[in-house]
Symmetry: C2
Subunit: 181 residues, 2 copies
């Protein structure tokens, strides 16, 4: 199994290149946030350009499979007219879940690059590493930690706002309840 690489172990030039594309994935994450979805975004980069974009649409589309990575992979498949994405990179703001790590392996993605870890469900380094499981018929390279702090903060801010909104909703329900008495 190849090793998981932290972006800080790469050259400055490589790190800057990965940060450039991760910012594009972050733009996708913001699209999700605008829809009140957990802000997770992804892009597929092939031969120096983006051939697929995606963001989390689980709640708005009522789709269990509506993860950013799946949307981006499917868009890239459509763009190339091919299910194989050999030589392509998947950039995503959060560590992939089992479904998305599996999809990247099936699509023959060359490298998965993610920002922050998901300690509860991440399957490319945290709970396990499905992208580098040598019993599967393909393995991908994995680079972690690209714009980690920025992507992590985006998630924290989202959940903080969500908790605040839920608290306010609860309070307003209580006020209505009291008015009813």
């Amino acid at each position: 199994m190849p090793e998981l690489i932290h972006v800080m172990n790469l050259s400055n030039e490589e790190r800057e290149d990965h940060e450039y594309w991760m910012k594009e994935a972050m733009k996708e994450a913001l699209k999700a946030q605008e829809k009140d979805e957990v802000p997770i975004g992804a892009v597929i980069v092939y031969q120096g350009r983006i051939i697929g974009r995606g963001h989390n649409i689980r709640e708005t589309q009522n789709l269990a499979t509506g993860h950013a990575e799946i949307q981006a992979i499917e868009a890239a498949n459509h763009y190339l007219g091919a299910w194989r994405l050999e030589g392509a990179r998947l950039y995503v703001t959060l560590e992939p879940c089992p479904m998305c790590a599996g999809a990247a392996v099936l699509a023959r993605i060359e490298t998965i690059i993610y920002a922050c870890r998901d300690p509860k469900g991440g399957c490319t380094g945290s709970l396990m590493n499905l992208a580098q499981e040598d019993r599967f018929n393909h393995q991908t390279q994995v680079i972690e930690g690209v714009l980690d702090a920025a992507c992590s903060q985006m998630m924290k801010d989202f959940f903080k706002k969500l908790r605040k909104r839920k608290k306010l909703e609860k309070l307003s329900t209580k006020t209505v309840d009291n008015a009813d008495l």
Copy 2:
């Protein structure tokens, strides 16, 4: 982690019920076969009826994510207008891969029922068991071996025919090559 159940350990009544729905998944597999796709089919059963069907469309749609289970889960999501498929069963003719096992867990499927094992990529019993991984926030029941022999034979016949066709194509190319000389 709950245990993987073999259908032979269930009652006759339960086995017959599972076989009834697996036959529906087999109908889906035949649809894939008609398109020259590897014959894999799936259905989602909820409250005694099918709410999602799917078959392998990877080659015809050039879609890395075009597995039977993903199609069936998405169809069920659309049908219910909900990403949560709590209380639903996923029937599939071949053991799910990491992507599909992951999707079933994300969709909160109650039980995955499959026919034959996939020793090379199966992730609900063969290489690992992602559906019953207790570090994830949901686990499904898993029943294996329902119409195992019939589904396995369907796959074997498909690959046998494919090999025969490829051999004939090779021979016909050779004949053309010789004619060119």
